[in-house]
């Protein structure tokens, strides 16, 4: 029973990270219909930026996170303006190839700037806490709480501000949004900024319990794709639910089935789902 709860908690904290990454991915897909394969690279660069300003400038963890959030948000906006925007009338194939180009560039860039070695991010939150008979590191608790706070902020922004509701409107109906006179460029920039910010936050939260290396984004982005397909491409609640579900499923899979194959759970899950329902679990949101 203890083991069960322990793994549940671990799974939820991993799931929090997945959720944050998947949220950005699903928003970009919902609004712009781009499967942003480069999103994982944003995540990876986010981790490195945090690490760098922590070690070189000696900034505090949370300050470094905010710094990284701004850097990656700008990076995402830059990729939108320089790459995706010029391609807005191009075929989906071109979008995907362009995304691959960005991904390859960022990964190589990380290797040039920071080397191919595995890096570790020091944390001042590595004490162990005991609650309800469970042992958790502070960092895992922080991940859980921070993710909820970030999602609450996002929810507030999307629901309670004009521009936020415009994003939602656009995600649900592009043409409709045009009719209402929403400036598509502003929405596009903002959506990318949010997705980049979420990726950076997720990376910063996850880094102290994982390793940092140039290819670290690949697995995460693939899992995020699985999540948003499970949750419905473009669906925000779907991404949240899917993210936590996958985190927990992996955690239990690693404990009760095999640690070696835990990364495969997501992909097998997806293959099964798409085999049974080729249009995803929640079709109809976007075409």
């Amino acid at each position: 029973m203890d083991l069960f709860l322990q793994q549940l908690l671990n799974g939820l904290s991993t799931g929090s990270v997945y959720t944050l990454v998947a949220l950005g991915l699903t928003m970009v897909f919902g609004v712009l219909h781009i499967p942003n394969f480069a999103h994982g690279a944003f995540y990876m660069i986010g981790a490195y930026v945090t690490l760098t300003v922590m070690t070189i400038l000696g900034l505090h963890y949370w300050v470094a996170m905010i710094f990284s959030v701004f850097v990656i948000a700008s990076l995402a906006v830059l990729s939108d303006r320089l790459v995706y925007h010029p391609l807005r009338n191009a075929s989906p194939l071109q979008h995907m190839i362009a995304a691959v180009g960005i991904l390859l560039f960022l990964e190589a860039l990380a290797q040039v700037l920071w080397g191919a070695d595995y890096r570790r991010m020091e944390t001042s939150y590595d004490d162990v806490v005991h609650i309800f008979g469970l042992t958790v590191t502070e960092q895992r608790l922080l991940i859980l709480i921070a993710a909820v706070v970030i999602m609450a902020a996002l929810h507030w922004f999307l629901r309670k501000t004009m521009i936020g509701s415009a994003i939602i409107a656009m995600a649900q109906n592009r043409e409709g949004a045009y009719l209402v006179g929403i400036n598509a460029n502003v929405i596009s920039v903002l959506t990318f900024a949010i997705s980049g910010a979420l990726a950076a936050a997720a990376a910063t939260l996850a880094s102290p319990i994982n390793l940092i290396f140039p290819a670290m984004g690949n697995l995460v982005i693939m899992k995020a794709f699985v999540i948003i397909i499970i949750g419905g491409m473009g669906s925000i609640p779907g991404a949240i639910l899917g993210g936590y579900l996958l985190g927990v499923a992996e955690s239990f899979g690693a404990t009760y089935i095999s640690g070696d194959y835990k990364d495969m759970i997501a992909f097998v899950l997806l293959v099964i789902i798409l085999t049974v329902k080729p249009t995803g679990l929640f079709p109809g949101r976007v075409h």
Binding site: V100, F105, A108, F225, P278
Partner: protein, 339 residues
């Protein structure tokens, strides 16, 4: 007309050079690099026959390359099969798994297809990486034999291996060419252009997509098997998605959907990679943006661009002469390259 002759002469010249290459270049290293490039080219041709012809972007292509390589490797090293038997098995297995994967994955459309195949590719990678007892895991598989002799032909020298690879590349290009100019190839292009219209004129899109996918998996497997027997050591990284992206890049740069594109793109990029050795693994700092720029400004790639340019010029000169022309007759047989 003399333009056509130029192209034909160009092809013949290229062919002669490739035939004589082992005598022209003395460096074993160069010959080794060229042979590797030709193996990649086979795989890229296979890729083109799917993504370039029917237009569905599979991200599992490199997985089938690995399936070909590991099938050959495991059957020769662990099961002690005859080389050519294992070689055949590698091709058949790649195509067969491709068929099964395609059967399911073509139920999905567009982005879903790309993501689905990406997951399939990653599952293949994970199986190779984690199934230690079978594949050797990260340690890889060593001691794969060179191709066994066929009658008097032996393949234990670099030169002979070069010719073997060249032979298979020639076959691949022939298939790619015949296919492109056939009724089936036209059907593939129709599906690529508009699935809806294709179905309206009685074409089964699913069947054609599946067929082209299986063909591409077959050639990926062929390239993989050749790779394994040439390098004699294989590890899980030959199934990594990054290698798949690299093949995609060769294709885009050379010219997607074109006949010469895969060869031009692969040779150019391998050559660039060699000349930019000092960049090593960070060459993507350069190539990544190149890929992006190409997709934005020059999506037809080198060969596609040249063909377009050439066609426009011919058209202009046609117009000049057209006043004197007689009404056109139905040509008995036309070869067309649409892009």
């Amino acid at each position: 007309m003399d333009k056509v002759m130029n192209i034909r002469n160009g092809v013949i010249l290229t062919f002669i050079i490739t035939l004589l290459l082992p005598f022209i270049v003395q460096s074993q290293y160069v010959l080794h690099v060229v042979t590797m490039a030709l193996i990649w080219a086979i795989s890229v041709y296979g890729y083109n026959m799917n993504v370039g012809y029917v237009g569905s972007l599979s991200l599992a292509h490199v997985g089938f390359f690995a399936i070909g390589a590991y099938t050959l490797g495991l059957l020769t090293v662990k099961a002690g099969w005859n080389f050519w038997l294992a070689f055949m098995a590698a091709l058949v297995l790649s195509a067969a798994i491709g068929f099964l994967v395609g059967l399911v994955s073509f139920r999905t459309k567009g982005h879903f297809f790309a993501i689905y195949t990406m997951c399939v590719g990653f599952i293949i990678y994970l199986i190779i990486d984690k199934w230690d007892s079978l594949t050797g895991g990260v340690r890889g598989l060593i001691g794969i034999p060179h191709p066994a002799p066929i009658g008097p032909l032996t393949f234990d020298t670099l030169t002979s291996q070069y010719y073997l690879v060249l032979f298979f590349l020639a076959v691949t290009i022939l298939v790619a060419k015949r296919l492109l100019h056939s009724l089936l190839g036209r059907t593939f292009l129709a599906v690529n252009n508009s699935e809806e219209l294709a179905r309206a004129i009685g074409i089964s899109t699913r069947k054609n997509q599946l067929l082209s996918f299986v063909i591409s998996c077959f050639f990926a497997g062929l390239a993989g098997a050749l790779y394994a027997s040439f390098v004699r050591f294989i590890g899980p990284d030959i199934a990594s998605i990054v290698l798949g992206f690299e093949m995609l890049m060769y294709l885009i740069i050379g010219g997607i959907g074109t006949l010469a594109g895969p060869l031009v793109g692969t040779l150019l990029m391998v050559w660039l990679t060699q000349s930019l050795q000092f960049l090593q693994d960070s060459r993507m700092v350069l190539f990544g943006p190149v890929l992006v720029l190409l997709v934005i400004f020059y999506p037809q790639g080198i060969v596609g661009g040249i063909t377009n340019h050439w066609r426009k010029r011919r058209k202009r000169s046609d117009l000049k002469h057209s006043e004197s022309k007689l009404p056109k007759q139905v040509p008995s047989h036309r070869v067309n390259a649409r892009r």
